[in-house]
Symmetry: C2
Subunit: 481 residues, 2 copies
């Protein structure tokens, strides 16, 4: 990136949250999670980068009212204050239930969703004004810059490209990165027509629309073709719209391996390792947010079926399921967590004994435990119904010390990169998953070693730095630099 140009990153959740200590001083805590790590890497890539995000805490709102970006550590942060009801409508009524469900294909279509005026209100009085706020913050941030580069992130910000374009004109470079799957045109069609069309029009006012896989990029282009009638050039991955070129690209997101190698040696992880190493038999692991898209229920069912098909495995393995609680106030999520627990209990009753619990269910927020388990699994199950990327598969491959085997859903974004050395499963097929778990747990050492090493190398060959550089190269190419 050329020096002296102003780059703006925008994501709903930011890299820091501010609070006030008892003594009245402003303090802050750095956020965690894959997207924040990734955007930190983007932030480090230029000299004049400002990161815009929603104010979440009371102290965040104070920060948002100060004129200049707030400098914290190596970052410059601008927070945006939203009207609380608008934010609630955007987040809890539009983005997380509706867009998340549509893009992961989670509805029971004969019965749900029930759309209507409430959807329209969440759109018009929530999603749209929140997106306007972001665009205004972008506009204020770049007003004195020459050629602004605006990097927008994820499904809370679909209308921001259009509003930024309206404010900054044709010369600004605008990209939007979608971090969740893109559905086909039919499932996109579940949305009300005004959302369906407005989102696509907005995304096509960006210069680059980016995804984690070529598959999502193609589904997006096909959706735009069917809904708006645009034409796209499959070879060049370009959509022609309103006399402009929109590049539809895949940049598979990754991790910072050094961060995980360091974490793996941290005190808190070493403490958790005692528990993990105490679990009887081989270790089958899953680490997920408790989300309907993760396929936890079928994972347990498949595991139970493995004991039916291979009774010799009884007592020889423990399945540690580390499930971070998530969105428990959405009824579908609360019900899912119940079914997950019931299914685990059933498997434990059916196959367990006084001395051995087949499934160890950990429903807590415990990242050190996850990393401790990453180091020690013999087999890792990632069987998502649908998953934008799934960074667990990459994180675990880097720190695992037992040549653990990856069982990987073909519907996880990571499958495009890791399929050669994982055991691929159809997430809807219980017997296929049962067999893959069995195969993973009984695989000869040499094949385990070869696969584990290849997985690690694949991850190391496309780190978060590479992810940033690929995008920066394309920005330069798009601008003809």
């Amino acid at each position: 990136m050329a020096r002296g140009e102003r780059t703006v990153i925008v994501s709903n959740r930011g890299p820091v949250t501010f609070s006030r200590s008892e003594s009245g001083e402003r303090t802050h805590s750095r956020g965690a999670g894959g997207l924040v790590t990734a955007l930190n890497a983007v932030s480090r890539s230029g000299d004049d980068v400002v990161w815009i995000a929603s104010a979440q805490s009371e102290e965040d709102i104070e920060v948002s009212r100060e004129p200049a970006p707030y400098e914290v550590d190596d970052l410059r942060v601008t927070l945006v204050e939203h009207e609380p009801e608008a934010y609630d409508l955007m987040y809890n009524h539009l983005a997380n239930p509706l867009l998340w469900f549509v893009q992961h294909g989670l509805y029971d279509l004969p019965y749900t969703p029930l759309l209507g005026e409430e959807t329209r209100r969440a759109w018009e009085e929530g999603y749209v004004p929140v997106n306007r706020n972001f665009a205004e913050a972008v506009s204020r941030t770049v007003e004195d810059a020459g050629f602004p580069i605006v990097l927008l992130h994820d499904y809370q910000l679909y209308m921001t490209p259009l509003f930024v374009r309206e404010r900054l004109g044709a010369d600004a470079f605008i990209s939007l990165f979608v971090h969740i799957p893109w559905p086909g045109p039919d499932y996109w069609g579940v949305l009300p027509e005004y959302i369906r069309e407005d989102v696509l029009e907005s995304l096509l006012s960006a210069d680059v629309v980016a995804f984690h896989t070529r598959h999502y990029a193609r589904d997006f282009a096909e959706t735009a073709a069917q809904v708006l009638g645009v034409t796209y050039d499959t070879e060049r991955a370009v959509i022609h719209h309103s006399g402009r070129e929109v590049w539809v690209r895949a940049y598979p997101i990754s991790i910072d391996p050094a961060e995980f190698e360091e974490l793996a040696q941290s005190e808190s992880v070493l403490e958790q390792e005692e528990f993990v190493k105490g679990l009887p038999g081989k270790l089958l692991l899953r680490v997920d947010r408790m989300d309907l898209s993760k396929n936890v229920v079928r994972g347990f069912q498949a595991y139970g079926r493995m004991f039916e098909r291979h009774p010799e495995m009884v007592g020889e393995v423990t399945f540690l399921a580390q499930l971070q609680p998530s969105r428990g106030d959405i009824p579908e999520y609360a019900r899912y967590a119940e079914v997950v627990q019931e299914t685990a209990e059933r498997v434990n009753e059916q196959h367990g004994s006084a001395s051995w619990k087949p499934i160890e269910l950990s429903m807590q927020d415990n990242f050190p435990l996850s990393v401790a388990a990453y180091k020690n699994y013999d087999a890792l199950l990632v069987n998502a119904v649908r998953d934008g990327m799934n960074l667990v598969a990459k994180e675990a491959a880097v720190v695992n010390e037992r040549d653990g085997v990856l069982v990987l859903s073909e519907n996880a974004g990571a499958h495009e990169e890791l399929n050669d050395n994982a055991l691929t499963v159809n997430p809807f097929d219980l017997d296929e998953q049962a067999d893959a778990i069995y195969q993973a747990l009984t695989m000869p050492d040499e094949e385990r070693r070869r696969r584990a090493q290849a997985l690690r190398e694949t991850v190391m060959s496309n780190t978060i730095e590479d992810w940033v550089e690929a995008q920066m190269r394309d920005i330069a190419a798009y601008r003809g630099l």
Copy 2:
């Protein structure tokens, strides 16, 4: 079609069922339903046409064991005997639950389907052998013919094109018509890989793959491109595969208007009209099989919501829902029928009175009642979640005598032809449907007349005869005649 050539129609369900009378004589009854009517028209289109179908009754099996095609009325019929267990696996374990659900998008993907060895068995020991039986029957039927034309129909027969091609070679003309929606690549991916790929390979061994809408044709081409990596020419609607051209076409199926005009005057229909005309207020109608794809529950919810939004409509309308029982032995269907009844009861309790029942639920097999209601509705609700074509919309438009207004789901195949003069609804949006029902019931007479007439003309301009001719023209064109 050139004379002297042998044409073979194959469909799972045939035009006649045989039985034996008490006196020991063979009798037969003609089948009803949209597909049979349509194929009757195909059958009339040539001199040497044989219709092959599955034997369903004991007497059918007797007929199937006779060497020559059975001549009945104007038809020549060959019945195929399947091993009962194989047929059960094909019909009740593979085609109706799995393919139907996948192609209509009816699964609750976080929980269902649960695929596995039973799926494989239904495929290998049911679907595949039944399809081989059809192919052998085709082969026997055309053995003495020069250039055979093989017209295969619907989702029970996906493997038959391949098996026929293996037997008859490159010179035979083979088409398969899919009468249900085609899903996008993602939903097709719910199927096990062997079904996903084998079906596509088989369909692409046909010369023409046909659908009711351009939308399904495009989704099919995109599915083939993503799953098998074939290329397709969007302009010409051609897939290139194994050095051959496969034409991917849309022929919107239709009805025989004369048949319905005659029916409308029949004694049995006139009898039912007394009941229909006795219903209080304006008549809102729906006529459907009781299927999860038909969106009956949301239809009732939307109707209830109309009374909330427009209390002046209370007492002014009756909603007659004529729902033909269907597939009640599939648990999802039994549950759906219960929810339909509960929803109707709730609306009736909430908005009805001693003298007026807002919803008149008729869960019976009563075709004369349907036609009687066709003649008398003020508004017709066709709000399917997804529907291959929906012939109800066409049948009703032809015989309606009240300038009835059509409220039509954008996900019904009929929408591609009828959208200009129907009120389009998103089937997931309750308020949009409530408003459309209200608009339909309160529309000024002149607009009603104009729309109803245009709908009728659209149907009359593409009857079942036109549907047959369009296909015959393409067969001639494909063969370069």
